[in-house]
């Protein structure tokens, strides 16, 4: 995939506060990249710099190989969808969508046709003459989306566009946007702090923390192969277990836990023998049984609590003062507190993370 957008060592200060620090990121043409991170991690700031609303303190932003630092927003040709939609309240839905086309001085007939097409795409043709205030949140959101797409921009930037919607509508819109992206092939940079949203929609996810990218990769990579403790904890739920590396064999390492047990685990970074590390074990990868099975890793534990949660059974375990959580499929049998069980998982289902 050809690289289309490049953030080249971008740093941004607000006064003494460093919001984005020496950040490098490349985005391919037609790619859907999510910027995922906790509040205040600098996602919006990065997006605003890409849109041209803010200037980086240092570093370059390249679009198709040319630096665009000095190009004003209105010449950047990027559609922006704001969290609060930013629809013009004094214009009808149709006028809102026609606005970017009028700014490009297209002919009346062409504008009418493209507005009709853009509204059709988001199933809002019946609402052309309504004012934004007469629409529901989800409808306003779709108007904002079609307004950002109607002029066929080179890039579409979205800053938590679904934040104000209820869960059901949000999930519907996630699929709609992903569908639009596939049909139009436009490059999308999508900001969110909702990890499941990022995993659902994106080709790649960039996980932000304190102005830096902790990891960038496909949804599967950032979930299954977290590179840092922050990523492992921020995306999904995980068990973090402290230990010391005893030996490294290629892509695997043997880790000794404080309880003395040995665990064989996959490694993503580079670790050395004797190094203190964390093990990240996803709760849904843990199997429980009363007999020691064939699995490479097996920990003797005792059930302390067990909660039925509809789609899964959540079991809290204790292994020599080390708490563990297991999520079991709903067909699993019950484990009453006090039961002694073996928690088993394969080497590929846990990760060694350097602290």
């Amino acid at each position: 995939m050809a690289e289309f957008i490049r953030f080249d060592r971008i740093t941004k200060f607000y006064g003494p506060l460093c919001v984005v620090e020496n950040l490098a990121l490349g985005i391919g043409k037609g790619e859907f990249v999510s910027l995922l991170g906790p509040s205040g991690s600098g996602k919006t700031t990065l997006l605003m710099m890409l849109a041209g609303f803010e200037q980086p303190t240092s570093g370059n932003i390249l679009l198709d190989g040319t630096a665009i630092n000095d190009v004003p927003t209105h010449k950047r040709d990027m559609g922006v969808v704001f969290q609060s939609y930013a629809l013009f309240p004094h214009m009808s839905v149709g006028e809102n969508v026609a606005f970017p086309l009028q700014m490009r001085r297209l002919g009346k007939a062409e504008i009418a046709e493209r507005v009709a097409r853009a509204l059709d795409m988001v199933q809002l043709s019946a609402f052309v003459d309504r004012r934004p205030s007469q629409l529901s949140g989800g409808q306003q959101q779709r108007v904002a989306l079609s307004r950002a797409l109607v002029f066929e921009p080179r890039v579409v930037l979205m800053d938590e566009p679904l934040g104000a919607l209820d869960k059901q509508l949000r999930e519907q819109m996630q699929l709609d946007i992903r569908d639009l992206h596939r049909r139009l092939g436009v490059t999308i940079v999508f900001v969110t702090h909702d990890q499941s949203e990022a995993l659902t929609m994106s080709d790649r996810v960039a996980v932000f923390n304190k102005g830096k990218i902790e990891q960038i990769g496909t949804p599967r990579q950032v979930y299954d192969e977290p590179a840092t403790r922050f990523v492992a904890e921020f995306i999904g739920e995980t068990n973090l277990v402290e230990g010391v590396v005893e030996a490294v064999q290629g892509q695997e390492a043997t880790v000794r836990l404080r309880s003395g047990a040995h665990i064989v685990s996959a490694v993503s970074g580079s670790v050395a023998s004797g190094q203190p590390v964390f093990l990240s074990i996803r709760p849904e990868r843990v199997d429980l049984s009363e007999t020691r099975g064939e699995a490479r890793n097996c920990l003797e534990t005792e059930v302390t609590d067990s909660v039925y949660q509809g789609d899964h059974l959540r079991v809290q375990l204790q292994n020599a003062a080390q708490p563990l959580i297991a999520k079991l499929g709903r067909r699993s049998r019950e484990f009453p507190p006090g039961t002694k069980v073996y928690a088993a998982f394969s080497a590929g289902d846990c990760r060694v993370i350097a602290p």
Binding site: H74, D77, G79, V80, A86, F88, H90, F99, R131
Partner: protein
């Protein structure tokens, strides 16, 4: 049900002081001023007996004996020459010839040695119903004379409305001048106030506070003090002319005081807050992301301004203009101190009638004209602001 009505009753009791205050210090003075404009009981006060008898008259037949006796009695009892003069003037303007008829009648009535039996024996004209008709009309305590005079109109002998002669037609000129000065001031306030409010709304923290304080502080100073300050600044040897001359920008002092320029400058300054504040309050309600959104959609700054910010802030401009205009048409002190004779506005005429010549009727009538103009403007504004789209 009774709970609801007792609650209504209780809230009415709580509101009562406010209502009483409003009635006592706003509604009642306004009403009495307006009734002054249309009431003229001068004739009724002089001729109480005739008034009683004339109510039975059919307004067509020749005068009866009781009518004549009553009028004679009334006229004999008159001891206020000023009031008599006023009455004769009013009767004469309704029916020419009344002045001579009256003076003849009065002197005949004063002749105690040889008292006349009835009015017709003094002058044959007393037989004609027209003269009695004029008296009957003048007895009515209501008159439109003041209201008509306020816009330079009057009734001729036949009772038709016509223009007053040029030497008595000043009100209309002054009314037009008042509206013109108010319009100029409104325009100047909008031209200065809009950019000012925009800058203030775009700033944050102490800079914004400072700009707002700069607008608000003058409001806390007495109007007289502010006008006096302009008096000092605008003088021929005042600060402004001195400065311009020191900078050698002008050779001779600019005429800034006792003319229209000075009045506009001073009034614009005094009224500017009433323009800035409504515009500012509308501007800060406009979502901050609309202008960036317009830019991202390809609008250069000035087109974004014309298509987005300006239409959304027009409501503030309209209410600011209304406030400024309405305040401006009532201005008195500033034009009186800074303006020349050709810059006096309608309030100074009202003040002249009210305090100078004690003609409360005319003062009230001019006040009514101003009030009607204000109400008209307000209704237009209310109409526009409810029609305005995007405001729901």
């Amino acid at each position: 049900m009774s709970a609801v009505s007792s609650r209504t009753g209780r809230s009415l009791v709580l509101l009562a002081p406010l209502l009483l205050f409003l009635i006592g210090f706003f509604v009642w003075p306004l009403f009495s001023m307006m009734s002054q404009a249309v009431s003229d009981p001068a004739v009724l006060r002089l001729l109480p007996r005739s008034a009683e008898v004339l109510t039975d008259w059919d307004r067509k037949s020749p005068p009866t004996m009781p009518m004549q006796t009553a009028l004679m009695e009334d006229l004999k009892a008159v001891d206020d020459d000023q009031a008599l003069g006023d009455m004769v003037r009013r009767l004469n303007s309704a029916r020419s010839g009344f002045r001579t008829l009256m003076s003849k009648t009065m002197s005949a009535l004063e002749d105690t040695a040889n008292p006349p039996a009835d009015l017709v024996s003094i002058d044959k004209r007393w037989e004609k119903p027209e003269f009695w008709l004029a008296i009957a009309d003048a007895l009515s305590p209501l008159t439109d004379r003041n209201l008509l005079a306020a816009v330079d109109l009057g009734r001729n002998a036949a009772g038709d409305i016509e223009h007053l002669p040029a030497d008595r037609s000043v009100n209309r000129v002054i009314l037009v001048r008042t509206f013109w000065i108010a319009a100029l001031v409104t325009f100047a306030c909008a031209a200065i106030g809009f950019p000012y409010a925009m800058i203030a709304a775009s700033l944050t923290g102490w800079k914004r506070d400072l700009m707002l304080a700069a607008v608000l502080l003058p409001l806390w100073t007495s109007l007289l003090v502010r006008t006096a300050a302009w008096f000092i600044l605008l003088q021929e040897k005042g600060l402004i002319n001195d400065l311009l001359q020191t900078l050698a920008l002008i050779d001779a002092p600019l005429p800034l005081i006792f003319n229209r320029t000075g009045v506009i400058i001073a009034m614009t300054h005094v009224l500017l807050p009433f323009m800035v504040l409504p515009i500012y309050s509308v501007l800060i309600t406009i979502p901050k992301n609309l202008m960036p959104a317009a830019a991202s959609l390809g609008a250069p700054p000035w087109r974004a301004f014309l298509r987005v910010l300006l239409p959304l802030s027009l409501r503030g401009v309209a209410s600011g203009s209304l406030l400024v205009f309405i305040s401006a048409i009532g201005y008195y002190i500033t034009p009186a101190l800074i303006g020349g004779p050709g810059d006096q506005m309608i309030s100074s005429i009202i003040a002249f009638y009210a305090t100078g010549s004690a003609n409360w009727g005319m003062a009230g009538a001019l006040g009514v004209v101003l009030l009607i103009a204000t109400l008209l403007l307000y209704s237009v504004y209310a109409r526009l602001s409810t029609d305005e789209p995007g405001r729901r």
